[in-house]
Structure formats: structure tokens, C-alpha cells
Symmetry: C2
Subunit: 553 residues, 2 copies
Amino acid sequence: MPQSTTSERKWDTRREEKQRRIKSVASMSNGKVLATDDIIPALEKLIAPHDRVILEGNNQKQADFLSRSLASVNPDVLHDLHMLMPSVGRSEHLDLFEKGIAQKLDFAFSGPQSLRIAQLVEDGQLDIGAIHTYIELYSRLYVDLIPNVALVAGYKADRKGNLYTGPSTEDTPALVEAAAFKDGIVIAQVNELVDDEDDLPRVDIPGSWIDFVVVADQPFFIEPLFTRDPRLIKPVHILMGMMAIKGIYAKHEIQSLNHGIGFNTAAIELLLPTYGEQLGLKGKICKHWTLNPHPTLIPAIESGWVETVHSFGGELGMEEYIRHRPDVFFTGRDGSMRSNRTMCQLAGQYAADMFIGSTLQSDANGNSSTVTRGRISGFGGAPNMGHDPHGRRHATKAWLDLITEPNPVARGRKLVVQSVETFQAGNKPTFVNELDAVEVAKQAGMPLAPVMIYGDDMTHLLTEEGIAYLYMAKSDQERRDMIAAVAGITDIGMSITREKVSKLRQEGKVVFPEDLGIRRADATRSMLAAGSVADLVEWSDGLYQPPGKFRSW
Amino acid sequence: MPQSTTSERKWDTRREEKQRRIKSVASMSNGKVLATDDIIPALEKLIAPHDRVILEGNNQKQADFLSRSLASVNPDVLHDLHMLMPSVGRSEHLDLFEKGIAQKLDFAFSGPQSLRIAQLVEDGQLDIGAIHTYIELYSRLYVDLIPNVALVAGYKADRKGNLYTGPSTEDTPALVEAAAFKDGIVIAQVNELVDDEDDLPRVDIPGSWIDFVVVADQPFFIEPLFTRDPRLIKPVHILMGMMAIKGIYAKHEIQSLNHGIGFNTAAIELLLPTYGEQLGLKGKICKHWTLNPHPTLIPAIESGWVETVHSFGGELGMEEYIRHRPDVFFTGRDGSMRSNRTMCQLAGQYAADMFIGSTLQSDANGNSSTVTRGRISGFGGAPNMGHDPHGRRHATKAWLDLITEPNPVARGRKLVVQSVETFQAGNKPTFVNELDAVEVAKQAGMPLAPVMIYGDDMTHLLTEEGIAYLYMAKSDQERRDMIAAVAGITDIGMSITREKVSKLRQEGKVVFPEDLGIRRADATRSMLAAGSVADLVEWSDGLYQPPGKFRSW
């Protein structure tokens, strides 16, 4: 039975506060449209100290007019903000902390700002809540990190707030929904304002989810992060690519996969129409992809290898190519791509046979991290896609292939492949006794070391020495032996005897190129379907329009 | 370099086919509005044999006008459809197969139709692609199960196709996006058509994603699946609820959690304001919830236990209560709830400290399934939320608490609690030597047994006998012993000696109620904050309006 007095608690404090803030900017807005010149005072009124603020620091697309404006507010007015940012990529993102406007940060990726984040943590100017994988951060926006304000970016909006994000839809829907449906305030910067919905190519986010739009002082910053120039692909990448195709992709008949950024995977993409074709693999592997629209995938698409691609985000220069290949890519009825980082991360987690990634450091157990001394770089999507989702229940050939002991209540396993050279730039060994991340965690007061992919989640380790089929390991010790067997002349690689390596090769647990019938001398650049960005343009029939920095002709 | 002839392949076959189909119904449509009476011939033109067709058989909300209409098409015209259905809940869903309109089924849940599915499989009239967890199925819609057509349901649409789903937004956004952005055809049935967007409470799905709307012959079917009448809660549920609160929730300081359907968890919800209050736990546990708006959560909300609730779907009767509690629930600017099964499943996977569920059968290793002889029932969300996501990187007290051997590169662990009575209705033992699912898999030709939650993913087993802290087990054998220790007088429970049980209790690996200071005699219905649906209405100040079948006054 109800207790005597139900509390006199108010139940709509957020809604009331939102209305109060919206009214407070009436003089700076025309309906939902905020005046560009008034953005700084408007932010000072629409945000309050200690708010949780989403800032679409996205992987590529940046709400940079809003981030620059937020970094220019008066810290006496706005302070102690708790920033929720998928990606911390721009210097003003950290100016927020240096100036005392923000104090706490929950994020997923911070590549270019990793050094400065570490310094700010050391100086006590920035408290890290946690480093997340992307969809882990999105999911907390609906649970224990519900935002007060969301600052996002799109190409165009109409006066009702209907938003066309452009091809890089990316994180925007997940970020906006969390604020829009919990009485948070959503502010979208756009490159262009149109009068009416009919003037928008399509609507990605309905106007009823958006509180304010503001025309940015300049188009939002977007970076071609996923373009790899084929000229920079080295023979070692080609050797590793050939091993991957024959020793992993073909062996397990990989149908659906994710490729990350990196020259190793770019090499694989460019080897499919040549080496893959020689092996007779077309139509048998690599049909369904979850990845950004890599230009290096163009030759494989044009040769009929690729049935479908779903993307996390867009890629500068690929817009027209995608528009002309709608059977392959996800596009709206306007013809431009619709990406979606949430759904693509989910697809990469639950619907892909294989994840292949790279790392900077691995310990003897295969735990890896991109966090190295003095740098707190974050993880992006790797932890999500680089693990075996135990909630998966549908079977594919590749997934079943990793069951080593038949059992009716066994489950299959996702392939998690790490592809690394045994030494990094500057002759630093990739394989180390202790990850730098362990020391970084101690210094930053983190409860655990920021490991990107755990060794027990990795199923295959590929180096220029060979492939270790780690899923076959019968014990932790054998696993360490298998890692050492392909760790080259690093200390860890030197710790295993020739006899042990021979035994592992005889058992098929480790293979070297020669075991796969691959001659190192054959791994030359002539194997690549395209040797330059110009070749990619030609493959695309001129539809791919590379950004200036990739043009040399 | 590009090969000599780039193929003359067409790259927009889906787009062209979509346009062809849309034109073919010009005589039956007025813009995007299809005539109700023409729906059967319209479906015969808009769908083609062998198409992949999403049908919003949702957990609660049903596109039943569309499913009834589809089941009435001419099987000579439409046949061999491949149905993609989150939930198979209605008889006409299976009529599709019996009539030869559809042949293949990929699904996630099939509670009420589980018996008939098994029969159709046996008769060769239905091929199961796979049984999925919800977001696994959604993710495949973007990879290897891209749909040709999506049939969904909403409350209202305008003539441009802008859709208001109502509070049970559920799966609709994930289903529509996959079709809308891959040149599939999206048809939404609505209860009401309005002329203009301004007549909609809000827009959940933009009109540019929807190809056709059709007014249904009657409002869509929706079922109050998550309402549990407190009168049916038995003392054994209360005993188990007290153990859960003290021995699990308080012990690990659970902050964020998911509760499923079931009397065990309903009892816990109704014990928080009474027993939880006695233990001084208010404000210390159970602040953030991912669950449907259970009426039995009302007393905990009203007593100030619950900070936030994000929901998979809505619940009939809870609409006004939710509208008046926006600080707790996710609502749109119109005031009605916006649920989202994708984001809530993600939240339950990545942002929750704990999942607690129930099952019908468990084997000695703790593998459990709801698939029993003659029934193919599907899993719903349990496999997703009932496992430890290895991609999680943020730490909470509960997550860290499950680390048993400190190690800088350890990771924490999600609590996966199974709460079961040792015997099911009809005196069937819950604990069995072999899951029925193993035999079902053999008969249906599945590659693996349909296990709902794997034993090695379970961290806690709660029965009326006690709690087994399985995450503490040092070996598979000890794990089996711990399960047996709380398996009562089932064969498996009788297989362990008293001495072993005593030792496990001494080590704190198993606790009985008395070890927690809980007297079985105290577990009475008087402990519940509400003893009836009428009490819940009173707690809600009359805002909860239970459906007729739950009214007895």
C-alpha cells in the first residue's frame, strides 16, 4: 500500500529548466534560428555550470563552430562542464579544460590530442571519467550520462530544425536522441539554412528533435581520415596481405568483415582483384563490408568482389562515387550516403565474421593498446568490434570454424585478427613485456590499464613472420608460445626455441609464408590493383574526387 | 592499374526496381497514401517473390493490418518470401508459411507461436535462417540480410509520410532505416492520417524515409506484456527477491540494471521501498534502469529510488503516468514516451552493471534455454544483455567487484544473474542433465543447440535455496558444484554432498538465506509495497490506467 505521504517532489524539473533556458535567448533567436554572431552569449544562457554537454567531436565531422564558440565563453559564467565526446580531435576541445570551462571528460577516441590530454590530466585540469568504445559511450547517454545539452553538426537545416547531416551522418542520431528525449537542449550548426523542408535533400533528424539551428561562420571541418595513398604501401604490407587472404580470409571463408584504417588492410583491399582473383576467391569471400568508404576499396568494388558496404561515416572525395554505386552503398532517396556509426558498430559487432585491426604495443599474452607513455589516445571502435560477442546466436561457416572441440552446447567465435609488424617506426619493438598502458593507468589513477584488445579476445595474430592461430591454443602457455613464434627478433620472439616453433608449425598452429606457398620475393608492389591515387580515380571512372592533398598530378 | 574493361555492370538495380514498383501502384495511391481497401493488390505489386521482407512483428506493437493483408495475397503471385521478424507473435505470421507465401524466417522471439513454428519446421514448410537476439538481427539488416521491403506500424502519419510511432517506438527506427537507405520500400500502417506535420504530436521517423502510409482497418494490436499483477507474487518470489537485494544488489552496489518480465523481478521492484528501505539502501543502489515501464516499478519511483528509466518499448496503461514523470522517463517534447529497442538493448549491454533473467531449463554447467521439446521460442534480448560485453572499458564498483585475481590488465565483468525456482510448473525440474534444446537442434538441423545464456556467461545463480557466486569458481568442476549446491532436490541438486556444500558456504561461494540473515518465515506478501493492481493505481495518484484485464474493482 502507498505510504502515507507521496512526496511533493516535482517530476518535470528538466522540462521546466529547458523552457526557462529557451526563453532566455528569445532576443537572439528567430524561432529556432540562432543568430551566428550571438552564439557565444547564447551558449552562455543555454548551458549552465556543471552541465553534461555532448560535443560532436566526431571521427571526421566536427561541430567546430560550436566548439570554438564554447571555448570562447566566459569561464566565470560557464564552468565545470562535463564533456561527453565521441572524439576529441581539435585543439579547442582541450582549450575548454585549460580555460576552466570544462573539468570532466568522457570520450572514446583522441588520436591527435592524446599527448595534450595526458598533460592536462597530469596538471589536474582534466578529469577523465572513462575511455570508451563508441557505442559504449552512446549507451551511457541513455543511462548514467544523460546529457543536458547536445552540440552537433549538419550540412543543412530548414527553419523548423529539420536536419540534413550529409553523408557523414555518423554519431549525430545517437547523440541527438539522448538529449531530445530527456528534455535536453539540442543545438545544430549547419553550413546552410533553407526556408523549407522541400529545399533539403532529405531529413536525417526530424525538426521536432532540434531546438536551435545556427549557421556556422564557415563550413564544418571534415577530414579524409580513411584515405590511404597506395604509393605508401610497402612490400611488407603486401606480404602480410597475401598471408591474410590465403591463411585467414580463404581458410575460414570470411563473408562479412570490417577493415580499419591502415596500410595493412589497404593492401588487402588492393590485392583482392589481383592475388585474390588468382586464387579463385571472387564471389567466395569478402562480400559484405562494414567500413568507411575507403578509396582503396574501389578496385575490388569495380571488379565485382563487393556486394554491400555499410559505413560508420563518409569519406571526403567519395561522394559522387557512392552516389553512382547505390547497389553497394547505403544512400538516401536524394542519392547521397547515409552513414550511421551506431548501426555500423553494431553490425561490426554482431553481423561480421571478422575484425582485423592493428596496434602499437602487445604484451606476451597478446593484450594490446594504443595508449603509450605520455599519450592517452582512446580506442574508437576497436574494443567493440575486436571481441567475440557472446550474445551472437546465428551461425556462419567462419564462426563455426573456430570451434575446436565439438560439443552441442558450444558456440562459434568471431575472428579477431591483429595485424602488426614486429617493430614500429623508430625501431621500437611491438612486442613488450609490459604495456606502457599499465604505467599510464597508475599515473592517471585509472582503476585498470587502458587495454584496447585483450589477448584472450584475439583469435589470429599476423606479423611479417607468419600467422599464429591463437584460437587453437590449448593453454595460456601455448598461446604465449604461439605469439612468440611470430614475434620476430623482439625479446619476446627470441624467447622461444626453434624446436617449439617447428612443433607449432607441424601442428598447423603457426604458419610461415612458405607454409602457405607464398614466396616473400613475390610480394611486390606490382601485385597491387592500384599503385597510386590517380589509379584509384581511373578505376572509378573519374567519380572519385580525391582531396587536394592526395593529388600529385 | 584498372583492368582493360570495367564491367558494364548496372549499379542501381535496386533503385530502378523500387521506382518500377512504386509506379505500378499509382492507381491505388494518392501521393504516399495507399487506399486501405487496396492494400492486398498493392502488396502484390510492391513485393516480389523471394524478397526479403521485414514485418514489424514487434515485442508489443504489431503491424497487424499489414501482416493480415500479406497473409491474404495470392501465393501464386507472392511466394518464397524471406521474412525478417524481430518477434513472431501472431497466427497470421505463420499462415504466411502454411500458405506458401513465405518460406524462410529469421527472427528473434516467438513466445506465443513457438509450438507452431516447430511443427512447420518439421513439416518442411518453414526454414529457419537463425534465431537471433534482437540487435543481432537488426545489425544483419545492414550487412547480409538487407531487406527489400519493410512493413511497420505507427500511431499517426501525415501525407508526406512523417511518422509518429507513439510511445512504443521500439524497433521501428532500426527496421525502417535499413530499407529506406538501401532502396527498399517502406510501408507504414497507421491508426490515423493527418494532413500536415503540425497535426502530429512529434515526428519519430522523417517522411523522406517512408514510401507509403496506409490507414489500418483498426488500430494496431498492442499487448501489455510487461504488467505483472502483484496478487500473483508468491512468498517464494519474495524470499528470492530479498536474497537478490541483500546478497547481490547491495553486495555489489548495483547502480544500473535491467529487469525482464517475470514475477521474480516484479517482487524485487516491490520490495525496494520496503525491505530495501529497511536495509538503508535508498540512493545507494538501483538508480538507473533499462526496462519497459513496468507498473510494478511505480512504488519505487514514487519513493524516490529511481533516477532514470530508458525503455525498449511502451506499456499499455502507463502512458499518462510516464507523461507526468519526465524527469524519470524518456519523453518527446509532446510529452509522450519515446522508447527505442536498439538503444535500450545497447544500454543493457554496455551501460548496465547487471542483467537478471529467468529461464525454463539449465544444465549442470549452467547453460540455459527457453527452447524446450516441441517449442522453438527464440531469445529476445536475453543473449545480448545476458553476457559480459568484452568491449566495455568503463569501470563501476560492481563491474570491478567481480575481478577475483587482481592484475593490471584484468577487466571487470558484468553481472549476469539467473533467478530460477528449482522446479517449474508441473513439477518439472529446472536443472536437467541435457537441455531439450540439444535434441531440438538435432531435429531441426541447426548447427548448434539454441542456448539462451551460456553457463560461462552467468555470474550468479539465484534459487529459492540460495545464491551461487559463480564468478568465484576456480574451475569448471567447482562451478558445477556451486550450481548443484543451490539446485534443491533435483537430481543435479542431490548429486552434491553436504560436506561440499558446507565448504562452499564457509568460503562464501554459496550462501543460503540464513547466511544472509534472512528468515524464510519473514518472506510474506506483507513485505510488498503494493499487493494488487489497485494499489499500483493508488501509488500513481491515478495516473496509471491499467487495461481492463488487470482491473478487478
